[in-house]
Symmetry: C2
Subunit: 462 residues, 2 copies
């Protein structure tokens, strides 16, 4: 074990001299670009390695994963994060909810995250809520006031039963069901009595088409009599493409049969182990889903469960440092650096360029050579029309630099969505995207390779 | 958003009537066996669904993943958990460290987890520590007392340099290096001055064979002159099988050349994106690694990033409840239940059997019919020689039941390791293991299928 003195040392650590430069949260970033630049006393900054890498890796990964799901689902769909139960403990779940929201999700079912960060909360009742009911006898208070408050229906339960009998012989449901599950109907009725303005029912506890949908429609039609509009249903199992299309057909048929203009457009939410691939497959097959609840594959980042962000010493006492490796992708780029994003005439970014701290910045309208950091032959001249410096000071330490303020979560989310929309389409392809180019200045290129030769030990061939 | 009143309600929730029955932590468990049985007021217990599932899913998954890594690595290797930087935030990392220890890891590099749970702490210095040094000039205090305290070497740095020159022309290193990286040598020397009893060096910052190993050996031999034994090295890149074998050869050669009996047996730790497959490949190829540091693939459970534990209502007001699904694996087993693990004459368990709460328990020496919960034809008679009831009371609520006490973490870990060792070997195969059988009593079988027929709505074929 550690000596106790080490914990005392940790407790007493003074971070007041540490400067933090970071790319604003919600920015699209690429491999090799430093996300943070930390300056400060070497012992303190080395102890910060693990906390910083811990805080950045999962946050960046799950935001990216959320953005990928949004990209496949399309802008018009509502995306709900349902992942708390699969996250790495309560805190893992809260991080997941926060960063999925930044990545473009609309809401979370994680009530704590909603409370902490003001993320919109959405969810439905559980299967257990449905199966906790046995019959209508459990509903004590059967009265419901009409939406306009003008009168009260004393027996909403009878109204629901009347509607169920009516639709059983309707054109819409002819031959679809003989008897629906009565405990499910009791649960839906009870839920509607409590939330007449927010009636969204989970319809797959027993059988979607033979029980869940007719029971839902009976309650929704009873609500309609009292001036309320039901919200819709959630499907949590089975063939979501087929079931959503069948449900939509029934909703539209009822709209027509009973002249209820909103009925066909009610919301259909789908869940059940959804991921990028299943969303893509649903799109290809055709479906009638309006909203997706996504959990497991989203928060665990199932398709790629880890991001490999690392923290490297690049300069000490004004001396550049390099970490070599047999694997070129693991060689670090030395020196205190600046990063610029260069834009052309279009709105999308062309290339990122990394320079030494004291090099003159790229100038609008002036040609600049952008070099691949490790491959000599890869280089291009760029004439930027707009130059954006990426690293900003978020913690000035004991320097007198101006500190950026942290924007509200909503603004970070807006930035993220906007940045993704600005990217050139071929960088955004799901299969074989064109890699976005990250370059170094000519001066930095020469310096990297000078150091590399200098630091790498020379062997003797036997 | 939620109404504020809901948060007030959550704050005021009274869990004093909730009873929790659980399988002791560290027990080997199988699909379909309930890990917990919760009893209490329906509203409170429904709100506990997400917290319980959140707390159980990742903990069980990562413990299993750790146990799988231990199984492949073998009992004799030291396993170090290095995953904090890839976990879902600080709390995710602490959970990962705790449960990897239960699953059979020996230590963690997560200092907070060590402090919180008494898990042994192990780690090495970082690459940044190596590259933070430029030269010997940075070492202010060069004196080191001998291990026995009898005298002081006033210039340990010169002693290291003397040894480096000596081994350069030794039989062991002939032709291997001409010059090693001097900042690396300064870093190793400085580390040895601070921790002469715990000198374990990360040797791949520049070049393992040409720089890291000779530098390490020079420092280790200088330490040896003063009576200290170096611990060993860590490899964090490159071909770990090859590099570990080459390193071992050099260590053994030095042992012989300088008559230092411990030198050949020094510890070689390997890290760098290790997982079950790479451990298996290393075993097949042959290697000289004594300890593995495993991070990313361990804590993110990369091979299967989520476990699908769910929480179902099975009984309310003494009435059994069932959740149906088109997918048989999602049909819940109704009723308040007991679970027994049946053992035969050997020490390994034969089968788990789930019964209704009030059925007589299986008896030693008495034949009992074990049925597959859903397939009518699958059944077997078992005559148990030992019967273990799995669910124990950990929270008695307002009942007068005796509560189990929670054992220390070390005991949970011992239980887990012992249970895994007891399993029949064919259940433990990595490829196509024989599934362990989980059964229900004849009475429960009949009841499940009676309820299923009763609850499932009947359709009409068109």
């Amino acid at each position: 074990m550690c000596e106790d003195g080490f914990f005392d040392y940790l407790r007493g650590i003074d971070c007041s001299d540490v400067e933090v430069y970071a790319i604003p949260e919600g920015t699209v970033v690429f491999p090799k670009v430093p996300l943070l630049r930390i300056e400060g006393p070497v012992a303190v900054v080395q102890l910060l390695e693990t906390p910083f890498v811990n805080l950045i890796n999962f946050a960046s990964l799950v935001t990216t994963n959320a953005a990928r799901h949004r990209f496949v689902a399309g802008k018009s769909k509502t995306l709900l994060e349902f992942g708390l139960r699969r996250a790495q403990g309560p805190d893992g779940g809260v991080s997941a909810s926060k960063y999925c929201y930044i990545g473009g999700f609309d809401a979370t079912s994680n009530v704590a995250a909603g409370r902490l960060f003001g993320i919109p909360l959405r969810g439905t009742h559980s299967h257990a809520f449905v199966s906790s009911y046995m019959s209508f006898d459990e509903i004590a208070d059967k009265a419901l006031r009409t939406k306009d408050g003008s009168s009260t229906c004393e027996d909403f339960v009878s109204l629901v039963q009347k509607w169920l009998n009516k639709i059983k012989w309707s054109n819409s449901f002819r031959g679809i069901f003989s008897e629906t599950n009565q405990s499910e109907l009791a649960a839906f009725t009870s839920y509607a009595l409590a939330f007449p303005d927010n009636f969204l029912a989970l319809v797959d506890t027993y059988d979607v088409i033979r029980s869940g949908i007719p029971n839902f429609c009976a309650v929704a039609l009873a609500l309609s009599d009292l001036g309320y509009k039901a919200v819709g249903i959630r499907l949590d199992s089975g063939d979501l493409a087929y079931l959503s299309c069948e449900t939509r057909k029934l909703f539209c048929s009822i709209e027509k049969e009973y002249e209820l203009s909103y009925f066909g457009k009610m919301s259909i939410t789908a869940s059940n182990d959804l991921n990028e691939e299943t969303l893509d497959a649903l799109n290809k097959q055709g479906h009638e889903v309006d909203a997706y609840g996504i959990g497991t594959y989203l928060v665990t980042c199932y398709a790629q469960a880890a991001l490999g962000v690392v923290f490297k010493l690049v300069e000490i006492n004004n001396q550049p440092r390099i970490k070599l490796s047999e694997d070129v992708s693991k060689v670090s780029i030395p020196c205190k650096k600046r990063i610029y994003r260069l834009y052309g005439k279009e709105t999308y970014p062309l290339v990122d360029i990394i320079t030494g701290e004291n090099e003159p910045p790229p100038k609008v309208g002036e040609r600049i050579l952008c070099r691949h950091p490790f491959q000599e032959s890869k280089r291009a001249y760029v004439v930027p029309q707009h130059v954006e410096e990426l690293l900003r000071c978020y913690c000035a330490g004991s320097s007198d630099k101006k500190q950026e303020t942290l924007p509200p979560l909503k603004d970070i989310r807006d930035r993220c969505i906007k940045q993704l929309e600005q990217m050139r389409r071929d960088h955004m392809r799901r299969l074989n995207p064109t890699p976005y180019k990250v370059s170094v200045s000519a001066k930095l290129y020469d310096f990297i390779h000078f150091l590399w030769l200098n630091e790498a030990p020379v062997g003797e061939l036997q």
